[in-house]
């Protein structure tokens, strides 16, 4: 059924939210700063997952959630006080729960052996003094839900059972009416079971003055002929259990003793017990035979409505502001397909270009600066920028979910390596383009693994070094000058530079006699094929090292840098653009063409002197910058704009940094300016061009190509052999 599939989808979406809520709460508990509402929220999250899972017959999920919930309930009620060990189990349980949700969603087979030990740990939490807490039985058997039910009646089974005769004595107490139950409704249900007759005993009604409108004064004797068994009859009274005196007696299905029945019968028939004979002056009990469907009789039903509405209403209203004030108002959201947002972003891009072209025309038309056209245009420019920013904000997402995933990673790696590590996060609310968030996950995961596996020392080593046994990995995000800066630092041992250097030499990545500064050595980590782990662990893996991380970051238009202090830890800092739709670039002229170089790639710009440029090989050239030689790439010839190389002294060199920390100088004719450009994909509109990342449209309507610096550099290497200088370390 379609609706069911939709609800299933809703369920898993909701699970995501609840898992995230749960994780957040557990982390707060772990930090020791969780109030009761946090614990409640965690409990509710697990409880809800269990509830929904039951409806979808996800047995393993239900059972695990159930024991987890039981443990949380004990924390909630104060029966359990969270200890660090306990929180560890809880956090691991949270991970298992996420896994189970995911496996259930994807319909994967669940192997209980995989989480048996955690399940046992969780169960053990609710075991006091070796006795498992009397857990309510899981009468939570998932039921198959068939929404295509043909009828709703709970008609008794038309089995071959013969008809029973029941005598029911039923004396409601005031609570029954106070809880909105009604005798007549119960009789209506009884009547569905078979032919019935009810007799009302109104003997208990006091004089009018003494009547309590909320009292209950009638009792009933009912005769029922039904094929239903006694349990079926009793079920009718399920909700009023404890709110009425009830006896059910049947032929051959006795529930109560004969003596009781005799007494009750006597009572029902209005024969006052011997002790009451003194009150004989009162009107004697009247037996009112009532047909199968009695008229409304409950004393309270009419009278209650007459009662003036006073204090209770106020109580309800005055209690409301309090509860509201304490709670952050839920944000209202709508779901929008990404396609629509992207289309909008595209259109806004066009608008920005169009507005730039209009500005250009106005300038060309020589309007006075104070003319209304120019002023109007400035306003338009302002508005366009605001629209652009607002639209970008739609695609922006907080890094929080990303960071949350990392905390799990830290736990797992710490567990696997026997280290004690805590992840501290800051700036989770920082927003960045969705694609950036998504594509950051992998490099960040890798770096976190490295930080725990290689950065943080084992507890013994840490204690020996005078540090706390538990290491800290800090992950922060912040907006800084139009970019997002994400920093990952650990308080571990720092980079072991002699070891890194030796390793790089062993692997033939650098010549043995190469002079390297500390930061040069740190940057060796980013070289392809570098891995310091003497024993290759299953965690950090082999080979897929920091070079991949660096490339992923650069593919996002970002930069990564590293700093480290021996004994104190390392910090990786990544700076990324907030959006992939616009780019800060430097517009340069090459052979009459305007090209855009991404600003992130440019380290500095230089005016080369003739003496600084040296030939190398047949047609290679290098440039000397502060005592190092950097390959010189003539952009004009490289891209085929002209045949003959340009004269360096008539050009400008852009010192760029590419993957692996390599530096190169790009030779261009001149620098025009620095500007933000809207990125237009070449692949979708034309095709892939080596050395070109994308295109943009300039204010004058011309198309300008955006350089792919990395590709341009490697393309140049393929064509000219620069040998050992492949790895040029710039000043």
């Amino acid at each position: 059924m379609d609706t069911m599939a939709e609800i299933r989808q809703t369920f898993f979406q909701e699970c995501e939210e609840q898992l995230s809520e749960m994780e957040l709460g557990l982390l707060a508990m772990d930090e020791g700063n969780a109030d009761s509402e946090t614990v409640n929220a965690v409990f509710r999250a697990v409880h809800s997952i269990k509830g929904g899972a039951g409806a979808f017959k996800l047995t393993e999920l239900v059972q695990f959630a159930h024991s987890f919930e039981t443990a949380l309930d004990h924390v909630r009620s104060g029966k359990l006080t969270p200890t660090p060990e306990m929180m560890k189990i809880m956090l691991r349980a949270a991970d298992v729960l996420s896994d189970l949700v995911e496996a259930s969603r994807d319909g994967r087979e669940i192997n209980e052996a995989n989480y048996a030990s955690i399940a046992a740990d969780v169960k053990a939490l609710t075991t006091f003094d070796g006795v498992e807490e009397v857990e309510e039985p899981i009468d939570f058997q998932p039921t198959i839900i068939d929404f295509g039910m043909p009828e709703l009646a709970i008609e008794p089974e038309p089995a071959a059972s013969q008809e029973h005769e029941y005598r029911i004595n039923f004396a409601p107490r005031p609570e029954l009416y106070a809880n909105a139950n009604e005798t007549i409704l119960i009789f209506r249900e009884l009547n569905r079971l078979g032919a019935m007759q009810a007799f009302c005993d109104a003997a208990a009604i006091p004089s009018l003055d003494d009547i309590d409108p909320n009292g209950a004064y009638f009792s009933w004797a009912v005769q029922l002929k039904s094929e239903a068994d006694i349990a079926g009859v009793r079920e009718v009274f399920e909700f009023v259990d404890g709110e009425a005196d009830l006896t059910i007696e049947s032929d051959g299905q006795a529930e109560v003793s004969d003596a009781d029945i005799a007494a009750l019968l006597a009572q029902a028939l209005g024969t006052p017990p011997a002790a009451d004979t003194a009150n004989a002056s009162e009107p004697s009990a009247e037996i009112i035979p009532i047909s199968t469907m009695p008229a409304p009789v409950a004393a309270s039903s009419e009278t209650a409505d007459v009662e003036p509405a006073v204090a209770p209403v106020q109580a309800v209203e005055s209690s409301k502001p309090d509860t509201k004030a304490a709670v952050v108002p839920a944000q209202t959201t709508i779901r929008v397909e990404f396609d629509r947002v992207d289309r909008l972003i595209n259109l806004v891009g066009e608008l920005v270009i169009n507005q730039a072209m209009l500005s250009q025309r106005v300038i060309e038309a020589n309007f006075a600066g104070s003319s209304s056209v120019v002023i109007g245009l400035e306003e338009l420019e302002q508005l366009t920028r605001e629209i652009q920013e607002s639209v970008m904000a739609i695609r922006a997402q907080p890094v929080k979910p990303l960071f949350q995933r990392m905390s799990r990673m830290v736990r797992e790696v710490a567990d696997a390596t026997g280290k004690e590590v805590k992840l501290k996060t800051e700036g989770e609310a920082t927003e960045v383009d969705k694609t950036v968030v998504e594509r950051l996950a992998e490099p960040l995961t890798h770096m976190i693994r490295n930080a725990v596996d290689h950065g943080i020392e084992s507890p013994e080593v840490r204690l020996a070094a005078g540090k706390p046994a538990e290491g800290t990995v800090r992950l922060t995000a912040a907006h800084r000058s139009g970019r997002i800066v994400i920093e990952l630092s650990d308080d571990g041992a720092g980079i072991n530079r002699p070891k890194v250097r030796a390793s790089a030499i062993n692997k033939g990545l650098i010549p043995a006699d190469m002079q390297l500064s500390d930061s040069d050595i740190d940057n060796l980590l980013f070289l392809p094929g570098f891995s310091t782990a003497a024993t290759i662990s299953s965690i950090s893996g082999r080979g897929v090292g920091m070079d991949v991380v660096k490339r992923s970051i650069q593919a996002l238009g970002g930069r990564i840098s590293i700093s480290s202090r021996p004994g104190l830890g390392s910090t990786f800092s990544m700076s990324l653009p907030l959006t992939l739709a616009v780019l800060d670039g430097m517009a340069v002229s090459v052979a009459g063409q305007t090209l855009v170089v991404p600003l992130t790639a440019i380290v500095e710009t230089l005016k080369p002197k003739k003496s600084e440029v040296h030939g190398l090989g047949s047609d290679g050239r290098v440039m000397s910058i502060r005592d190092t030689f950097v390959p010189l790439i003539d952009v004009g010839t490289q891209l085929g704009f002209r045949e003959t190389p340009t004269q360096p002294e008539n050009s400008v060199a852009l010192l760029v940094e590419t993957g692996g920390g390599a530096r190169n100088a790009l030779l261009v004719d001149s620098i025009q300016d620095q500007r933000q450009v809207v990125i237009k994909s070449l692949e979708t509109n034309y095709g892939t061009v080596a050395g070109i990342a994308a295109a943009t449209i300039l204010g004058d309507g011309r198309v300008a190509l955006i350089l792919d610096v990395d590709a341009l550099v490697s393309k140049s290497f393929e064509e000219t052999l620069v040998g050992e200088l492949h790895y040029g370390t710039g000043g």
């Binding site: 939709e6 809800s48 269990k50 009604e182 509405a309």
Partner: protein, 122 residues
Amino acid sequence: MTQTILTVDDSRTMRDMLKMALVEAGYNVLQAVDGVDGLDVLQASAPPDVIVTDINMPKMDGFGLIEAVRKDSRYRKVPILVLTTESDAAKKMRAKEAGATGWIVKPFEPTKLIAAIRRVAA
């Protein structure tokens, strides 16, 4: 006349399931996401024929909602069924003390849900 049921549950899944079962059975459905919202919805509409509420909810839980509803003379006679995953006697007792009319054990079968509603709805 079509009867109206107010369902109060913080879980979207559960709200959807209740709605599906109730609409199928021909009821009008009002929805609220927690106790506070439940009271707001009550204020904004004609009294429903039955209220079905979850117990564990943020802001105001099921017990709180039941108590508040019972205190208001306008809703005193509105039957309230609590949804509970446990057949936990203690929880049922607390709900009863707060003024609940009856209960539905989760996960519910639509037939059981409708039967329970029919049992308490006038």
